[in-house]
Symmetry: C2
Subunit: 353 residues, 2 copies
């Protein structure tokens, strides 16, 4: 869906665009060919976009300036195995819409651009960039004002990619802080579960049709911001990247499957039952929660992080991965922000740099 939405600014800028489905998108590509409409995005694909089935990926890649990778984090391995080898001979800049982090055995997390850089065949010269920031595919396709950030290691290449895609409604910042941007925008998926749990908790008390309450959501939102800030720094990212994740959290909470998951858990369903209600699909939010909590625990074991500072992420992880019932640790979210030195008394993690 996001890959197709990206064809809107591309076509508005007059580029030739080829839209290639993954093996999961056969029906969608067929529908686009037949009707010109993307069936789940529920929008017309812009005039001039050429749809290709996955079998014709190599032909679609011929004579291109840019490959936009529209896979979700669950398609990262497929992309590594199938697409990267094709790029060995004709290196391209790759721009990924994928949000997520790959957990590594040593307790670190790796952004997908860095993972793909490592995974490309020896001697491969493709470059890997990613898009962060709050942007839903529906609204991009509708040409709503959207602010995103392109992150990558090379500033000039980011400027080039921006020149291809910038429009009057698609506003592109650039950042060379790949770890910071990718951590922040991935983590928001995990934390959105925490905010929406409060919606389900209230429904459990007062019935599903009850009026929504915003004090509890905002309370958790503040905690999300604190924990995302600390995690981004802990993972090696920089402070200016945090706002891309926090603003993305703002939009994620309003709708979609992550919201549904949080509400179901808040109502009292186990994660297994909630997952069944969501057609058995594992969500990005679950994947990133698991990877981040696991990385955090390993860092804590190594004395490099303090678990006490992440009560919300650990609670979400316990609910999803350890069968615990939702029971927001309100009293552990309370803070003592004192100007004196004892602010971090008893817990001085060494930040990773």
């Amino acid at each position: 869906m996001m890959g197709t939405a990206m064809t809107v600014p591309l076509r508005d800028n007059g580029h030739e665009v080829r839209l290639v489905g993954t093996p999961l998108d056969e029906g969608i590509i067929a529908e686009v060919k037949r009707t010109g409409i993307h069936p789940t995005l529920r929008r017309s694909v812009p005039d001039g976009v050429q749809p290709y089935p996955v079998e014709q990926l190599q032909q679609a890649l011929a004579n291109t300036d840019l490959l936009i990778a529209g896979v979700s984090s669950f398609g990262v391995e497929w992309f590594s195995d199938t697409v990267l080898p094709l790029l060995a001979e004709t290196p391209l800049p790759v721009l990924a819409v994928t949000k997520g982090l790959a957990g590594q055995k040593d307790g670190t997390v790796l952004p997908f651009p860095h993972l793909w850089h490592r995974r490309q065949p020896a001697g491969g010269e493709s470059s890997f960039q990613a898009i962060g920031g709050p942007c839903t595919s529906y609204e991009l396709a509708d040409r709503r004002h959207s602010a995103v950030v392109f992150c990558g290691d090379d500033q000039e290449r980011l400027d080039f990619l921006k020149s291809l895609l910038e429009t009057s409604y698609y506003h592109i910042s650039i950042s060379t802080d790949v770890i910071g941007v990718e951590s922040a925008v991935a983590l928001k998926n995990a934390y959105a579960v925490g905010i929406t749990m409060t919606v389900g908790l209230l429904q459990r008390e007062e019935g599903i049709g009850c009026r929504e309450a915003y004090n509890p959501q905002a309370a958790i939102f503040g905690q999300c911001m604190r924990e995302i800030s600390e995690l981004v720094t802990l993972f090696g990212g920089l402070e200016p990247s945090i706002a891309y994740g926090v603003s993305d959290l703002y939009v994620t909470v309003y709708g979609g499957r992550t919201r549904k998951l949080g509400i179901l858990l808040g109502r009292g369903l186990s994660y297994a039952d909630a997952k069944s209600e969501l057609d058995g699909v594992t969500l990005e939010s679950v994947a990133i929660c698991t990877a981040a909590a696991s990385a955090l625990r390993r860092l804590a074991e190594a004395g490099e992080a303090c678990l006490d500072r992440f009560p919300l992420l650990l609670h979400i992880d316990e609910v999803i991965n350890r069968g615990q019932p939702v029971n927001i640790p309100w009293k552990r979210l309370v803070r003592r922000d004192l100007q004196q030195a004892e602010r971090h008394r008893g817990c001085s993690p060494r930040p990773r740099t």
Copy 2:
């Protein structure tokens, strides 16, 4: 309304509570006496709360441990003139729900606790604290989980106030960063206008009943977070206080008069016309926008701030105070977050400390 909502945790903790109206609240106090219901909060006042008209303020203050000041920022002068003299003989800890900043002639802004400390009669020994964080009066009165912060200069006194008010649903952090907390929570009122302007802009294009778009709101939300962070630091506050303001912004955007103002401005009304539609009332958001933009411009003149880093606040100020039409400066919100030293090239404000 917030003063009355505060009686809920107070009574739940078994305190004796006297509810005193300001001169503007005569009708409300009469209604509470007659029916037990606060007519604008639309909630029953808890059993045992004693309502007092303003003429009986002195009697109401007799033998009390704490004065909670429920005035808005427009009542700060009245409080200074009327209440502070009464406290000269019987000093009390004061806890204010007021959100705002008093602009000073030298370009600095002063939190109300500090203003009142200066204003109390010579030798006065009352102490002044304030409440920040996301908490609407309706939801506090309904005992929804609410996370607030009590800020003041004395940590032990903050602990005492927290012991009086903390309940299973009212979660109290404490902070000695008065400037940071008060700046952050005041600024959110100004910035909420910026986010909701995007709602009105879309209505102008597509009609008032159109479906809301969240990409533009989230884009502006991210910019709000960046500017609030920088302003809090510029005004002398500390980083941990920022989240109290940003989470408060999250809840302010959902409803109330500030949202209405932003929407009306976005639809194309001048500030004068929008104010008329809002019954001619000057909102907190307008007062803080004016004070903060004025302080920022003076700091810039003194070489201590860089106006380029606050395009959104300055635009909101131009719309409200200089008759400019809403025209979100999208391209000035785009950033280049580079790890190299040129990140702040051409603009190196000296932060105030």
